[in-house]
């Protein structure tokens, strides 16, 4: 349902970037499409642009709804809109589907112009740095020389961080939510189990399943189920599902019995209908590779030396996938560089998914920070 301060009906737009993109992997993409949405108006000074970067399964549809789909509310509609914490009466908000995604930007499922077949396994791996380059191309296309802010949660927060390193002059503020400057071994491990589920699905066909008119559905479903567990907290699962049984008693079989099983299977099914397995693989790899300190012998402080933006870093107490400790690592490096930074640790029961939730304190913090950004 559309709430009263929604941005309303929105329409995705496309841009073809004709410039070759040299990827961090060494491969080159000769050109690519990006699908994006914008909300609010770019002011005369072009000083009010704000980029929202999406996480693993997100896309360009940040806010509003599509005219022909009443249930198509954007993934961050509670945050972005007129009068909302990211106020579209003040900011010109840009959402973009990342390169390699499966919602309209060029990705593994897109047709490779050189063969007229889907890229499939031939689609190169992309990194957070590569995404920032493509987003910078989009900014140029939109006539935005500098973003007032780049905002993102989780993998989106990593992109916000990378913006301040790749283009310190082109971003005045970075809002980095439930993110990390690099994944831990445990986090990479979760990603690899998710990938193995997809890679070992017999319908994967080495990534070229499009040619076989099938998708590695079981693998993607498992990957999502695993991911979903890690995005919730023990507490929130216990509160929401506990040990509740669907039929009120054990059926002594392997069909759905516990409510949590039903929920996870439903989430997995829904996701595997909507998402491309190759995109999922690629996004998890981008997460794993992200480590701006790597080029500085692991010294994150040295990595942030070039950053000029002001930062708001937020974490959630029950987020064990991107724990507050990881956010504190970021803050410590920023402090050592005498950068303007504020950090809040938000008490929330909802684990990593908290960054998508409607928490009063969380939204007040974002609103307060946004209000002080001059445009």
């Amino acid at each position: 349902m559309q709430d009263s301060n929604s941005v309303g009906i929105v329409t995705p737009q496309f841009v073809h970037i004709d410039k070759p993109l040299e990827l961090k992997s060494g491969s080159t993409l000769n050109g690519y499409h990006l699908v994006y949405e914008t909300y609010g108006r770019l002011n005369a000074d072009r000083s009010n642009a704000l980029l929202v970067c999406h996480a693993l399964s997100g896309n360009h549809h940040v806010a509003g709804i599509y005219a022909d789909k009443p249930k198509s509310t954007g993934w961050w509609d509670n945050m972005v809109g007129p009068g909302k914490p990211i106020d579209t009466d003040k900011f010109f908000v840009v959402g973009v589907n990342n390169l390699g995604g499966c919602h309209g930007s060029t990705g593994p499922a897109s047709l490779d112009p050189s063969t007229n077949h889907p890229y499939g396994a031939k689609f190169p791996l992309v990194t957070v740095e590569d995404w920032v380059e493509t987003q910078a191309q989009l900014a140029e296309h939109l006539g935005i020389a500098q973003f007032a802010a780049v905002v993102g949660g989780s993998l989106g927060g990593m992109q916000a961080l990378q913006w301040t390193l790749n283009y310190p002059e082109k971003v005045r503020h970075a809002v980095v939510i439930a993110a990390a400057a690099k994944l831990t071994a445990q986090n990479i491990a979760f990603n690899d189990v998710a990938r193995q589920a997809i890679l070992t699905d017999q319908d994967f066909y080495g990534g070229d399943y499009y040619a076989y008119n099938t998708v590695p559905r079981r693998g993607l479903r498992l990957a999502r189920m695993l991911g979903h567990i890690t995005y919730l907290s023990d507490h929130s699962m216990a509160t929401k599902f506990g040990r509740d049984l669907r039929d009120g008693k054990f059926s002594f079989g392997y069909d759905v019995e516990f409510e949590i099983e039903s929920y996870l299977r439903y989430q997995g099914d829904k996701f595997s209908d909507l998402f491309d397995a190759n995109s999922y693989l690629l996004m998890t790899k981008a997460l794993d590779y992200f480590d701006p300190a790597h080029a500085y012998n692991g010294d994150l402080t040295a990595a942030f030396k070039v950053a000029k933006a002001g930062f708001l870093v937020l974490s959630f107490t029950t987020d064990w996938r991107f724990s507050p400790e990881r956010s504190r690592d970021i803050v410590k490096a920023l402090l050592k560089n005498n950068i303007n930074v504020s950090y809040a640790e938000i008490t929330s029961a909802h684990g990593h998914d908290s960054f998508l939730m409607n928490d009063v304190y969380y939204h007040q913090l974002v609103r307060a920070y946004m209000n002080n950004i001059e445009v």
């Binding site: 708001l312 504190r328 803050v331 410590k332 402090l335 050592k336 005498n338 303007n340 930074v341 504020s342 950090y343 809040a344 640790e345 008490t347 304190y361 007040q364 913090l365 307060a368 920070y369 209000n371 002080n372």
Partner: protein
């Protein structure tokens, strides 16, 4: 634009003015237990400082953001491990020491991350406090506005107590100021002074190892 002018703030908060008088212009400051960031804002206006506040309370962190003050939400009781050695010119602990459990640790941490520390606290030796104790009651006053059963102040002290304590913490006192409202008290300060301010540095100025807590 409506703002509280600095002179008004100084009149309302003589303790701010007292602290500001010790702060060199353009210095880098960490304000522990910063509340809504009013002191940092005042010091920005008066001394062009650059700094961060630290506070644990959600409402205070939000107020800092509203006031445009850098703030780090963190529990002072766990130390200052997020801050590097010698990162600040001054570390301020304004009317917070008396409410802390780990008193010695915070003083030592202040001296690790800052070149100088500034502490202010209500002087328990103030005559009106003594009078109330003599009359058989825990003091309740403007500076100590709580009852014994609801006070967050668990480590109250007198000037003498604090000065002994500084020795124990290897803190060398550089300057002391004792106030009664906006007046500086020079005569019988431990009896006549309501608020105490100390500026101190490390006794042994060799750099310390980074805290592990």
């Amino acid at each position: 634009m409506i703002t509280t002018t600095s002179s008004t703030a100084a009149a309302l908060r003589p303790d701010f003015a007292a602290i500001a008088s010790w702060i060199k212009a353009d210095s880098k400051i960490l304000d522990l237990g910063c509340g809504d960031g009013a002191l940092l804002k005042y010091l920005q206006q008066e001394r062009h400082i650059f700094g961060y506040g630290v506070d644990i309370d959600d409402g205070n962190v939000l107020s800092c953001l509203k006031n445009g003050i850098n703030v780090i939400q963190s529990d002072l009781e766990t130390g200052l491990s997020g801050f590097a050695n010698d990162a600040f010119d001054y570390v301020i602990l304004s009317q917070t020491l008396q409410a802390m459990r780990h008193t010695e640790r915070i003083i030592r941490e202040m001296l690790r991350v800052g070149r100088e520390g500034i502490v202010s606290f209500p002087n328990f030796g103030y005559w009106k406090n003594r009078l109330q104790v003599i009359r058989g009651h825990m003091p309740v006053s403007e500076a100590l506005p709580y009852h014994w059963y609801d006070t967050p102040n668990i480590h109250l002290c007198t000037l003498g107590d604090f000065e002994d304590f500084c020795q124990q913490c290897d803190a060398k006192i550089l300057e002391r100021r004792v106030m009664q409202q906006d007046r500086q008290i020079r005569f019988l300060p431990n009896l006549m002074g309501k608020l105490a301010f100390y500026r101190f540095e490390r006794q042994n100025k060799s750099p310390r190892l980074e805290s592990r807590d």
